[in-house]
């Protein structure tokens, strides 16, 4: 049993509960014991960065310092934005002693800088291994055509995130292949979905996410899998609006890769949170052999 700290982040406790639930379920099955960081705080996301640099580094570092207090050396965080912020902050304090001092003053406690930050994908592909996952899978994806969408934060900047190719990432695609699906080559894997403009300037999201959905459809995808709560909500929640604007039916279910993995591990559809999506994943479930 691999024991690590767990930083769900705000989204996974609110809009992306199904990501949280499906990761907790699948990780247990994969032999990972997640210990949620007690009294964790927001990573600061994009807002802290535009407010104050010191704040944007201190917020993630507080969470990392808590991990050290737990006596653990690794933390897993599924949200791509959290993952990115934690990684960036950790690297910045490692490279800049003055900043480290300033951060420690803000926190009122020392931070040793020894925590490794991992994304679930990295854990599955690198630590556990796809061969192991393939053996565990009780159901196969039956050639389901899947477009893997990574978004911008998970693989960039490559020097910081450093676990997959920044232009043509492969980890989710390889997972899909291992589980018996068809990983589609397409050009929008790392395009921006519009992110937090979802609320402030919806037009931008309509355009950017529209491009992505269109691209997946052109590649003949039956669904898109994602690894970021914001990507999921933009592609899923705004799909109706995009359909209206383009005047064409898309009907592309947007799943977390953890949900897909959960299905092949024969888990409960409802517990995985598959009922929470706007675009119904019914046709996928059917293909994998679940009855609705």
């Amino acid at each position: 049993m691999m024991k690590t700290a767990y930083f769900p982040g705000c989204s996974l406790h609110s809009t992306a509960k199904e990501y949280d639930a499906s990761w907790r379920l699948t990780s247990r099955k994969l032999g990972i014991e997640l210990q949620e960081i007690p009294r964790w705080i927001c990573c600061g996301a994009a807002s802290a960065q535009v407010t104050s640099h010191l704040l944007s580094v201190s917020l993630p570092c507080r969470n990392l310092a808590l991990v050290e207090e737990m006596g653990l050396d690794t933390v897993i965080t599924p949200c791509a934005a959290c993952f990115n912020r934690l990684k960036v902050a950790n690297q910045e304090v490692a490279e800049n002693l003055q900043l480290k001092k300033d951060v420690e003053e803000v926190l009122g406690k020392p931070y040793g800088g020894k925590v490794t930050i991992k994304h679930p994908l990295e854990v599955i592909v690198k630590d556990i291994g796809l061969e192991e996952v393939r053996k565990m899978a009780r159901r196969k994806l039956q050639g389901l055509k899947i477009a893997s969408y990574y978004g911008c934060l998970l693989v960039r900047p490559p020097k910081v995130t450093s676990f997959d190719d920044p232009e043509d990432p492969q980890s989710m695609d390889n997972l899909v292949t291992a589980l018996g699906g068809e990983a589609l080559p397409w050009a929008f894997k790392t395009e921006c979905c519009g992110a937090s403009f979802s609320l402030s300037d919806t037009d931008i999201v309509f355009e950017l996410s529209g491009e992505i959905l269109n691209g997946a459809l052109e590649a003949e995808a039956e669904c898109i899998i994602v690894a970021c709560p914001l990507c999921q909500s933009n592609l899923d929640l705004r799909q109706k609006g995009i359909e209206k604007r383009y005047g064409k039916k898309l009907n592309l279910p947007i799943l977390y890769f953890t949900e897909l993995l959960g299905l092949t591990l024969d888990m409960n559809v409802r517990e995985l949170g598959l009922s929470k999506h706007m675009v119904s994943p019914a046709k996928i479930l059917e293909k994998v052999g679940f009855e609705i």
């Binding site: 190719d165 232009e167 043509d168 050009a187 929008f188 395009e191």
Partner: protein, 663 residues
């Protein structure tokens, strides 16, 4: 007894403003061995030099310290001055109290104190100086030119015209290099072949120029005036003396493979000349693809050859020749853009490079001058050019600007319009660098008269959509996001050093920079020389250059080479290492560290025991005077003239003496 003179220069106010020069001259009077000191406003001026000469004679000085600027500026001046005064020039040393003292300190007292120390140190060294004599070596009056592109061709023609013999060693089956691949040259739009071919022919017909094509330099030993070079003549499998280039063989050959010369856009045979104007017009057999060589079947070319010139058994030949100087003209290669994910990691057929495009434009090229989409051969109507691919990209490519891409991209866009007036051309650029005669005007014309759209910005992504390439980028001048559905994308990839450049550099003992480009002796004042005397650089092996610059450096290197060859004997720097064989124990650690192969094992008869033993022997003409051997020698049997142990010791000692009684 040493009689040293110290001449302190004011350098106007350059030194005198921060250093109390009078005090320095006064202080120097008490230094060991110093008999005369003075100061003067400009020591390098005629009256200043005269002062040095007069005082040297008047006070019978045996050593001179000039306390002024860096030795890199006036060491030569004052050594000559010393010589004129009747002393060995190496009895003069410079005390650098300007660049390394008055210019870098503000506090007058501190600077003066440091200047006194510098003069003390230099005077201490001069006391231990010894007369050094310049030696002479004979000169072999032939030039080796490595590389037969436009650079090597021009150098060979210039040197031959000056009356000296040259040998061109070219790796490929024909001379001509990259320029032979070009369609037209900017900004005049001369046809590249039309201006290059006559020069190639001249090379082949000139009695003073010998051509070794399909050959490579294997080893280089020796030194200026006396380089010994081994050249591998790779087996063409054709007897060059018998072949007259009739072409029967390659017309009959049944094997068709992609042509390297045409950037794999066209085909050639397994026996081939790379292009019709090749010099020499002698084919070569491609061992990898020849059916006879792999399966012992076929042999059609041999049967077809009317001159029995084909020889499947021919073997590589190693020839040894001697040269006085070497000109390196090995050119460049193109950056491989397939590391760029945003351009599709090299997986899209219709994402090509400038060199591909040149071949397409060429009416004798694989597409007959039609610009096509390599994926389906259809004529390209919309072409996007992207500049700075690999250039100015420290993270993934090279940090420097490749200099020609702005110009050839403009030229290619123009030619596209000329070949197909209905075509659309877009150029993504960072900056337009058109610094050359009529260059800026040319780029203006391409935009204004030919309607090529220039967009200042980078391309963020290229992907295939509906059989075309969707190019996403930005125009930073208007702030607009740009999307273009193109038929063809042409990347202006960086010009980079050849992968084997470091190997050649080691062979020639010339340095190269972090980008593996060969380093000139001085970036401004010795741009075609290298630190190895007798080895010169020309063309793009040193840094990216366009044709006129390349030709200019080729002519420059030729003058340098001819200058050397105009002497029957050459002087060599006297600051070289010596072995005291009485002390040498023959461990030859010095041989291991010598970067020039100047040290070898020699058997001598011991002076005392009369027994034979091994010692180290230094070849003076090979020694460049780095002193690595000196440091390695444990008993101190080796010493470096001009920087002897005694001299450096005296310098250290003088510092200690100057430290005073602080404790």
């Amino acid at each position: 007894m040493a009689r040293i003179g110290v001449f302190v220069c004011h350098c106007g106010t350059n030194i005198a403003a921060t250093v109390d020069v009078k005090k320095v001259a006064q202080a120097a009077k008490s230094f060991p061995g110093v008999r005369f000191t003075t100061d003067y406003r400009y020591m390098c001026s005629d009256p200043g030099q005269d002062l040095v000469r007069r005082m040297t004679k008047e006070h019978s000085l045996t050593g001179i310290v000039v306390a002024s600027c860096s030795p890199s500026l006036h060491e030569k001046t004052f050594r000559k001055c010393t010589k004129d005064a009747g002393l060995n020039p190496y009895f003069c040393e410079m005390a650098n109290i300007r660049e390394q003292c008055s210019w870098v300190h503000d506090d007058r007292e501190e600077a003066t104190s440091k200047a006194i120390d510098i003069v003390r140190l230099t005077a201490a060294k001069v006391r231990k100086n010894k007369p050094l004599q310049t030696a002479f070596i004979p000169v072999e009056k032939r030039v080796l030119i490595i590389g037969g592109g436009i650079s090597g061709i021009q150098a060979a023609i210039d040197i031959a015209f000056a009356g000296f013999k040259t040998v061109i060693v070219e790796r490929e089956p024909s001379i001509g290099g990259r320029m032979a691949m070009f369609d037209k040259t900017f900004p005049t739009l001369d046809c590249a072949a039309c201006i290059l071919t006559p020069k190639m022919v001249e090379v082949s017909q000139n009695d003073r120029i010998k051509l070794y094509t399909y050959s490579e330099v294997e080893t280089v030993s020796g030194y200026v005036g006396n380089f010994e070079v081994k050249i591998r003549r790779k087996a063409r499998l054709i007897n060059e003396d018998k072949c007259n280039g009739c072409g029967t063989c390659w017309q009959r050959c049944p094997v068709r493979v992609p042509s390297e010369f045409d950037m794999n856009l066209g085909k050639r045979k397994a026996i081939y000349v790379p292009f019709p104007q090749a010099v020499p017009n002698v084919p070569v057999i491609d061992r990898e693809h020849c059916v006879y060589l792999s399966k012992k079947k076929c042999g059609i070319c041999k049967k077809a050859c009317p001159f029995e010139a084909i020889d499947y058994e021919q073997e590589d030949e190693i020839i040894e020749e001697k040269f006085g100087t070497i000109i390196v003209a090995t050119g460049f290669t193109m950056f491989d853009h397939s590391i760029y994910g945003e351009y599709g990691y090299g997986k899209y057929k219709n994402v090509t490079t400038g060199l591909h495009f040149e071949r397409m434009l060429n009416s004798a090229g694989p597409t007959g001058g039609k610009v096509i989409r390599p994926s389906d051969g259809k004529e390209a109507q919309k072409v996007v050019f992207i500049q700075c691919v690999g250039s100015r990209d420290e993270a993934r490519g090279v940090p420097y600007c490749s200099r020609l891409c702005c110009m050839y991209t403009a030229k290619q866009a123009l030619l596209l319009k000329e070949h197909n007036p209905g075509a659309e051309a877009y150029v993504f650029y960072i900056d337009i660098r058109a610094a050359g005669k009529n260059y800026e005007e040319f780029v203006e014309r391409v935009q204004d008269e030919y309607g090529v759209t220039y967009l200042r910005g980078r391309v963020s992504k290229i992907f295939e959509r509906n059989g075309r390439l969707r190019v996403k980028g930005c125009d930073t001048l208007s702030g607009a996001q740009i999307e273009i559905d193109a038929d063809l994308v042409v990347l202006a990839t960086a010009l980079i050093a050849r992968p084997d450049a470091p190997g050649l550099a080691h062979m020639l003992h010339i340095p190269y920079d972090q980008n593996h480009l060969f380093t000139e002796a001085h970036p401004k004042l010795a741009p075609v020389e290298t630190v190895t005397t007798g080895v010169f650089l020309t063309g793009a092996c040193q840094s990216p250059k366009d044709v006129p610059d390349t030709v200019a450096t080729a002519s420059a290197a030729s003058v340098k080479a001819c200058g050397l060859l105009s002497h029957d004997k050459l002087p060599i720097e006297p600051q070289i290492a010596r072995v005291n064989v009485d002390i040498c124990s023959g461990c030859l650690a010095c041989k291991d560290v010598c970067p020039f192969g100047a040290i070898e094992k020699e058997e001598i008869v011991d002076r005392i025991t009369q027994e034979k033993r091994w010692v180290a022997k230094i070849t003076p003409s090979l020694c460049n005077g780095c002193g690595a051997c000196n440091t390695t020698c444990r008993p101190g049997a080796i010493d470096l003239d001009g920087f002897t142990e005694e001299q450096i010791f005296a310098e250290v000692d003088s510092l200690v003496a100057g430290k005073g009684d602080e404790k």
